[in-house]
Symmetry: C2
Subunit: 200 residues, 2 copies
């Protein structure tokens, strides 16, 4: 009788003191959660830095007669496209969000029974952030693809043959932010799996 009492109070309901152990074993997934949020922080910060350092200045030849200069210096920067500005904003918010939730996750990492309300809130905000990051990734990818291939139907010329470094940076940002979006979806699934394991 003594043995069962200590087992129970440790596992489910410390307030009643003598409840039976629950059917599925209680596992705290906040170790994995914390690791994923750390990865999310690393990916969003690196994508942000790669995006803001993408400025490239090139000499573009002009086809004008002699009084005009032979070539002009033109820069390509991320803030020339609204899609890239949205991406920088989304990455900055995700980076900040990952720090805050990493702290929250670290606080309950050793708690055997973290609050279900907290898991629900995490799903709510992770799902919102996943939507924001996925749409930013889509917008950046869509615009970057035009820059890479051009669009002959509407005579939008490709620019990646001139601004090679700029395009590499944009491409790397799109790839890493895709990873960040996937991490956010995995976090939603992980938190809901925690809730599922605790459901009746």
């Amino acid at each position: 009788m003594d043995v069962s009492t200590t087992q129970d109070s440790g596992k489910t309901a410390p307030e009643t003191g003598y409840s039976a152990p629950p059917p599925p074993p209680m596992v705290n997934y906040f170790g994995v959660d914390f690791a994923l949020r750390l990865l999310l922080f690393a990916s969003s910060l690196s994508a942000l830095l790669v995006m803001v350092t993408s400025k490239q200045t090139e000499l573009i030849p002009t086809s004008l007669p002699p009084p005009f200069p032979v070539s002009v210096s033109r820069a390509a920067k991320f803030n020339h496209s609204p899609a890239f500005i949205y991406m920088v904003a989304a990455l900055a918010v995700t980076c900040f969000y990952s720090i805050v939730t990493m702290l929250t996750s670290a606080l309950v990492i050793s708690n055997p029974l973290p609050s279900a309300k907290m898991l629900f809130n995490m799903i709510l905000f992770d799902a919102l952030m996943a939507g924001v990051m996925a749409s930013a990734t889509g917008a950046t990818g869509g615009v970057a693809y035009i820059g890479l291939k051009g669009n002959s139907h509407v005579r939008w010329n490709k620019i990646c043959n001139v601004y090679d470094k700029f395009c590499r940076h944009i491409g790397a940002t799109a790839a890493v932010s895709l990873v960040a979006s996937i991490i956010l979806v995995v976090l939603v699934v992980l938190s809901s799996y925690s809730l599922y394991r605790r459901s009746r």
Copy 2:
């Protein structure tokens, strides 16, 4: 000792047959779930139809000397842009997905205690579809914005002054697919709220 036994079986294992009513009232949210999925079906189908009927043919004036024609007929279609093709694919998948999950939802609409595993699976797939729809919305929005405003830095001219009907269709698709993305995120939150209400 008797009291504690009934308490426990009421909380965790209804299959024993003599359980007390569970602490939080069991609410089945599948009515709302079904309505949202119906809305998702309507929005994805209408966005899909608006997108595929967006073809517009215009006479574009040429600035060539007399032997050449004064103007040429050029069409704008959704499949001229990879971003729009991705959107059509995403909308078709979402439309099909909404039908399947609507049926699943209808099957358990009168069940007082639907399976938690089903809720978890719904969160999993809804989160995936939300990511796909959000990225497609972002890609379409990013490309459509260039069509609307152009980009002077890279000399991509706006096309919406010529292809007005095409642009209206693309804009409507982007707006309705944004609604579809939001519905998918709300579905994730609704299912996880169901799980939360059932959690210990």
